[in-house]
Amino acid sequence: MTEETKTINHDEYLDPLKMAELVPGCMSELHSFEAKPEHQEKLGYPGGLVDDWHDKAIDKMGDLVSKYKGLRVFLDSCVKCGACADKCHYGMGTGDPKNMPVARQDLFRSVYRRYFTTAGKYLPKLVGARDLTEDVLDEWYNYFHQCSQCRRCSVYCPYGIDTAEISMAAREILDTVGKGQKYCNEIIGKVHELGNNLGLPDKALRATLEDFEEDLEEETGLEIKLPLDVKGADILLVTPSADFFAEPHIDGLLGYAKVFHEAGATWTLSTTASEAANFGMFIGSYENMRKVSLRIRKAAEELGVKRIIFGECGHAWRVAYSFLNTLAGPFDFLDRRYPVPQHICEYTWDLIERDIIKFDKSKNDEYRLTFHDSCNVARASRMGDKPGGQFDIPRNILKAACNHYFDMEEDTIKEATVCCGGGGGLLTDDLMDLRKKGASPRMKALSNVRKEHGVTHMAAICAICKSQFAKVMPGYDFEIDSILSVHQMVSNAIILTGAIDPVEDDDDDEIPAAAPDAAATT
């Protein structure tokens, strides 16, 4: 973050999509922690750089190119038109030319050309092909961990070339030769072992949920349950584990519970599937992604539920919506009248439309709200049965639950949304510099809507976004709790049948404080 953004001038218009001045190499040293042998081996990867890394990497590249049509076509098709060059939030925020999507792809493409194309084999200089060396491997590591796989570049490319796919392939090759990233791989190991990213054992989870039930009873006078491992419930809720332990996520979870309660639904969480996130996608590993997904299928079978609903989480929803049926389907044992899986927003919005849940909007009058489209939801999934439902449904819910809603600038929302800066396996403290710079387009757009409409809060439906914004917002003079769950707005305003009038000033401090830095690990 530059010095002047630290003292924000609230009256100044900031161009959110402005590209920082190009400074070659300015981010070239940023190297997030590499995975330790034990993290690697749990996922079936070698513990450190193997001796024959060169041949192994090239073999893996050939393997991936033959298994993924997208990768092959993307590598061949780019015409270097530069249409994507200024579309990446990391490029805009850092000015490092290698954070331009096409340049990021070229780090990989140059090697592909050298080993797999006629032109690159015989005329490498002419077409910008190069040998794979250890320096190149390091460069891959650094810059493919400066991509949040947000797909913004893919929207603007005339051929839909998706740099995210290339980042995933590069990370998979790095893992295969023993050079994985600590943050992602450690977390995937925890999911395989304990069922969630936080490494939360089931006793702790149960105790936490019981605390929430007490709080809810105190607040509403109603017995609102957060059931765990209840066989025969209708709905299995799979939600990011941050929802159990970190603000502002928890308030969203309480919102889901109230919605289920008011709808009279029987639902349950699962200890073995106590995590919606699937970091297997970030490292491009079909096998790991599949293994993490099968855990959810197994939980659904064991509990005998009829439906699966996902809580608020961006890339989790991408894997759930786009890949779950492929990875862990078919889901014939579920009630096929409902889509498998469903998003909690689809569920809530349906109840609102059918007048089953109602709101007292005035409860949210202290909030002047905007909404951050999480890019994985926006550009890699859908809600409802119409294209674009992923934009309308969360907004409709917010507008149903509060009186003051304002969108940010058109070219920073919906399919053009700019990433929070922390997605794709980058939500780790060792990448904080990048995270702050990458957040700047979104934060500028947010500052503008504050100036224009006095917006005080922003809602999001992604655990990563929420954790990331909680970290970067103070740099732009927003309170740390200016980022909210959509279902927190629902929770505040929902009218619960038979509820006692909530005590005024019912302050949030009664909710157990977030586990130290729990936010940073999900």
Binding site: L22, D76, G82, S154, I161, D162, D385
Partner: protein, 240 residues
Amino acid sequence: MLTIFYAVLFYVATLTFVGGLALRIYQYATTPAPLKIPTTPGPTTRTGVVFRMFREVAFFESLFKSNKWIWVFSALFHAGLLLVVLRHLRYFTQPVWFWVELIQPIGIYAGFAMLIGLIGLFIRRIVVAMVRYISSPSDYLMLLLLIFIGISGAMMKFVSPVDVVAVKQFFLGLMVFDWKPLPSDFPLLVHLSLVALLMIIFPFSKLLHAPGIFFSPTRYQVDNPREKRHIVAWAADLEK
């Protein structure tokens, strides 16, 4: 001698172009796409995908969203190129098809549009720092190749006209393996050599974007993963 050289050159070029492109298309068509990755919001039906693809190919929809300058130059170039290529059909058909006859006059303006577009793209590549950074020598050379094809073509039209009837005889002859003499005007020889070169490098270069766009999963896939299970052979094998 000259005739034989160019006859052989065009056979080789045509074979490389058709064979190379067919091989590429076969490769793209048979490489599996294990996951559903359409860029959303996207069409939820096959028909919708046909419309999306049509908008991309005919109007460069995504490029329009992205950058108006590239779009203008690119549209001038590609539309120009398309018309120019169609106009050239008159050298390969006897009698000339009715609609090819019809577009002859437009073809000349199309040639200029193409050149303006190409020169615009070339200047952009040099002037805009971001684009300069991502350019390899081949990216400049590709544009120069097309520019010189255009200029040598225009020379024959406006500066030193060639005997087009003889040229036509040459190409009609090539198609039935009955070689007729090729005129030896310099602009013509340059023009034909560069076109043959273009055909030869086509399947080995970024010009693969032309078939590539039809095989780009982010654009051709239907957004219906929940409704219909998508699974490819190698992924299904993991389930055994």
